[in-house]
């Protein structure tokens, strides 16, 4: 393969493989900004993945797939909200349970369907055609970056748009201001007449719905067969860490996704990169694959250490009441 082609493919992979992380991260940012720490991203994405895939195929429509993934994700959010907001359950434990629960649903539905009628994406033209790449006029003509960044499927663009929209919502609208107030100091928000419960319910559901879409994307990307080791494959957990890396800023999450994406795409493209640039990057092929597999998690650890050192007051996006349940009459 020529050098340009290899580089293009590498950039393409960075985006293609990692957009689910962006969905997970942006969804989790929205949830956490309401003061709830949802550790169930993995499970929520898995539920979105399996139901989005099945409903999308049966309806033969990508749109239905996206919508049902969102809905099923939001349903997971609803479970989380009922438990933590209304019933005051511990958020960490509820989130961990949701993770296990979501994965369980995934395997349960997947296995029972596989025995009977597992849908294959290519049989459903509505879904597979909808998932084709879209060339953005002009921009996609730029060498390397054009093909790498501007000829992706609709879900990639949707992810970017959602991230920017959530940023705008949080930082520029009154409702976003109120949401941040709820996450920072629910008692203060309550005292000025903001309906804390309603805000939490609403944003947990929307945030989890966004995660669900991320799961659906992942399912489509992983080809049409049911994957018995689960499509989500730990991405949900990286998303939780990415939230911290992005400092609870959805726009920064785009950047964070691509930084992680770089290390995620490296093992896929390592051998072709080494062949195309034997002098500069030949050493890439010598690195054992296990190290590549560990890279995203090593980077996660380094990032978490770095972000906890950088801790200037007022600059951190960490919601002050994150993880604490709010009960108005508490004394």
């Amino acid at each position: 393969m020529d050098k340009i082609g290899v580089l293009t493919q590498f950039v393409y992979n960075i985006v293609l493989l990692n957009i689910p992380l962006l969905y997970g991260t942006v969804g989790e940012i929205m949830v956490e900004k309401s003061g709830c720490l949802n550790l169930g991203v993995e499970g929520t994405m898995a539920v979105g993945a399996i139901f989005g895939y099945i409903f999308g195929c049966y309806a033969n429509s990508l749109g239905v797939g996206i919508f049902s993934a969102f809905l099923m994700g939001a349903l997971c959010g609803l479970i989380f909200a009922v438990l933590t907001v209304s019933l005051q359950a511990n958020q960490n434990i509820t989130g961990l349970t949701l993770s296990t629960f979501g994965l369980g649903i995934y395997f349960f539905v997947g296995h029972s369907l596989k025995a009977k009628a597992w849908p294959v994406m290519n049989d459903y033209a509505g879904v597979s055609e909808g998932f084709q790449g879209i060339q953005i006029p002009l921009l996609s003509k730029i060498p390397i970056i054009g093909k790498g960044l501007f000829s992706h499927n609709i879900l990639v663009y949707l992810g970017i748009v959602i991230a920017l929209a959530v940023w705008w919502y949080l930082n520029r609208t009154t409702l976003g201001l109120r949401l941040r107030a709820v996450g920072e100091n629910p008692a203060a928000a309550d005292s000025v007449g903001i309906n804390v419960k309603r805000m939490k319910y609403l944003h947990i559901c929307i945030g989890c719905g966004i995660m669900g879409i991320g799961g659906y994307y992942m399912g489509l990307n992983m080809s049409g067969s049911f994957n018995s080791s689960c499509w989500i494959n730990g991405y949900g957990w990286i998303a939780v860490a990415l939230v911290i890396f992005a400092n609870w800023n959805p726009a920064l999450a785009i950047l964070g996704t691509f930084v992680f994406g770089f290390f995620n795409a490296l093992p896929v493209s390592a051998s072709s990169l080494a062949m195309a640039f034997p002098k500069g990057l030949g050493w890439l092929a010598a690195i054992p694959s296990q190290l590549y597999d560990a890279l995203p998690f090593i980077i996660t650890a380094i990032v978490l250490i770095a972000t906890s050192i950088r801790n200037k007051r007022g600059s951190s996006g960490l919601p002050a009441a994150l993880g604490l349940n709010y009960f108005r009459e508490e004394r």
């Binding site: 920072e184 000025v192 007449g193």
Partner: protein
């Protein structure tokens, strides 16, 4: 004032002018589990009036007000606003009825600017440019004589600025009935004056104001009428002009209380604790205590006066060994204690009880019982790896009995007790260890009169037993009555040590602001160094 009972029966909502009350609460009862916080309370406020709500700690003042602000719902009773009965189910409702409450613990979002804190609660604000919001808020603030920078972040604000923001916030929502829960507890004398002039202005504009405070002189100063609660029950409402502090205290406590503070004369001994040329840095690395020298004799109370945050906390922490010092000496009975661990200092008989602004922050573990908190200090005396609860329980029972701590049992978590009782437990434990020097900071912070006097008695008892007491306080009247000597700090610098019975409040005030420096008066020997020091020339040279 007409007979309350009669008024309820005939269902008249009019006061003598034929005008509706801004707020009328009738027969309000509220219970938390088995605890009755309010029992059949009646309360009325007119527009253009300041009502002071008076009561001891735990008498249910805040609970009653929280039923107006929508945080609690009354179990029984009814609330009328401008003559019509209302049901306040949430803070949202409360805001709708024009009630605004400034809570004792401010309800502000730290990372937001002042403007955002106000804006987050506006109804249908639409899209208004930031600059227009700012100028609107500034304009509103200045009509009431407030200074408020809408761009300033809350975490950069002083306590007084935060309070200003809280008041502007409720005014901005159009509140006509304003409730202030202990607004003066954390303010300086000048700030209180400023607050009161604003309150008078709001009263003239026709606002109804309810103010909760412990300080009787403030009640007499600001209020038109006073409503008194005792142990959750409504006692009476009196016109301020027809009463006096003594009568109010009796209503509040339920019996006669001697408002004079004793200062027993005790024969003093040689200095127990001597501090010389002490310099300490604060958390930010700036100088907190600058070249301060003083000494405490056995059998005397040395007061430390100063504006909040001028090094008192750092000084206490340094003596207790919790904070490293930069330079200087601290000598206890001739032994240098600089560099010793807190445990070693404790063993020498120096105990510290510091009551921070949030009251529970230092010294006690809130969710542990009184017994366990006692054990925190003497667990080391236990033999073997097991905890000896028996002695801890005996200590706890002793403290509960001696200091009249009101608690369901010795096993009740400390955070469930009211503020005064928590402070009694803290001080009781420190005294239990039999110290010879007690360092106590703000021991009566937020306490009602009865509990405060109990604490003064405890300190006087220790003094007559020959203990040296360092008393960091806020209220100058109290310090002048209780302490033998007062040392004044200003921005970490020693302004001089004066005899409490010879000085005046004005002199202390001038010293606190740094306008008067009495150190120069001592020509042969610098202020703060005893003649009969245990700390000889030799040691001073060596150090």
């Amino acid at each position: 004032m007409a007979n309350k009972q009669h008024m309820v029966q005939v269902q008249t909502e009019n006061n003598e002018n034929g005008q509706n009350y801004a707020i009328e609460m009738r027969g309000i009862t509220k219970t938390f589990g088995s605890v009755v916080a309010n029992k059949g309370v009646n309360l009325t406020v007119k527009s253009g009036e300041i009502l002071a709500l008076l009561g001891e700690n735990g008498s249910g003042k805040t609970t009653l007000m929280n039923m107006l602000s929508g945080i609690y719902k009354p179990d029984e009773g009814s609330i009328f606003i401008n003559g019509s009965e209302v049901s306040i189910d949430s803070p949202e409702d409360s805001k709708k009825y024009g009630i605004g409450m400034v809570h004792q613990h401010f309800k502000l979002v730290d990372v937001f600017s002042a403007a955002d804190n106000i804006w987050m609660g506006r109804e249908n604000p639409g899209f208004v440019l930031k600059n227009e919001r700012h100028s609107a808020i500034e304009a509103l603030a200045s009509t009431f004589g407030f200074e408020l920078d809408p761009r300033k972040k809350v975490y950069n604000m002083s306590v007084s600025e935060k309070q200003t923001l809280e008041i502007v916030k409720v005014l901005c929502y159009g509140a006509k009935i304003i409730i202030l829960d202990e607004p003066t507890a954390v303010l300086t004398v000048q700030e209180i004056e400023k607050l009161f002039s604003v309150l008078r202005r709001m009263k003239e504009e026709g606002h109804a104001i309810i103010i909760i405070t412990h300080k009787l002189n403030e009640v007499m100063d600001i209020s038109d009428r006073v409503a008194i609660l005792r142990k959750g029950e409504y006692i009476t409402t009196v016109n301020t002009s027809e009463t006096n502090e003594q009568e109010l205290t009796e209503y509040m406590v339920g019996r006669k209380v001697d408002l004079n503070i004793d200062r027993p004369v005790v024969e003093t001994t040689r200095p127990l604790l001597e501090v010389r040329d002490l310099c300490i840095n604060n958390d930010e690395g700036a100088t907190a205590i600058d070249n301060v020298s003083f000494y405490i004799r056995g059998g005397e109370i040395l007061g430390v006066a100063g504006i909040a945050g001028c090094g008192q906390k750092e000084l206490c922490e340094a003596i207790a060994g919790l904070r490293p010092i930069k330079s200087g000496q601290m000598i206890h009975k001739g032994d240098n204690i600089v560099g010793l661990s807190p445990k070693q200092i404790l063993e020498k008989g120096i105990s510290m009880s510091f009551v921070p602004e949030d009251r529970l922050g230092m010294g006690l573990a809130p969710s542990m019982s009184i017994v366990d908190n006692m054990l925190l200090k003497n667990y080391r005396d236990c033999k073997g790896p097991f905890v000896d609860r028996k002695s801890g329980r005996a200590d706890a029972m002793q403290v509960i009995k001696d200091l009249e701590v009101v608690t369901p049992s010795a096993d009740t978590p400390v955070r469930r007790l009211s503020g005064g009782n928590v402070q009694k437990v803290l001080l009781g434990r420190e005294i239990k260890a039999g110290p010879n020097v007690i360092v106590t900071a703000y021991p009566v912070r937020g306490l009602d009169i009865n509990s405060s006097y109990m604490i003064y008695d405890i300190l006087n008892k220790q003094k007559t037993d020959g203990v040296g007491v360092l008393f960091v306080g806020e209220d100058l009247d109290v310090m002048m009555a209780l302490c033998d000597k007062i040392m004044v700090l200003c921005h970490g610098k020693l302004m001089g040590v004066v005899h409490a019975h010879k000085t005046t409040k004005e002199e202390l005030g001038l010293m606190m602001t740094g306008a008067l420096d009495l150190k120069d008066k001592y020509e042969d020997k610098p202020a703060g160094i005893a003649k009969d020091t245990r700390f000889g020339e030799q040691e001073a040279k060596e150090a």
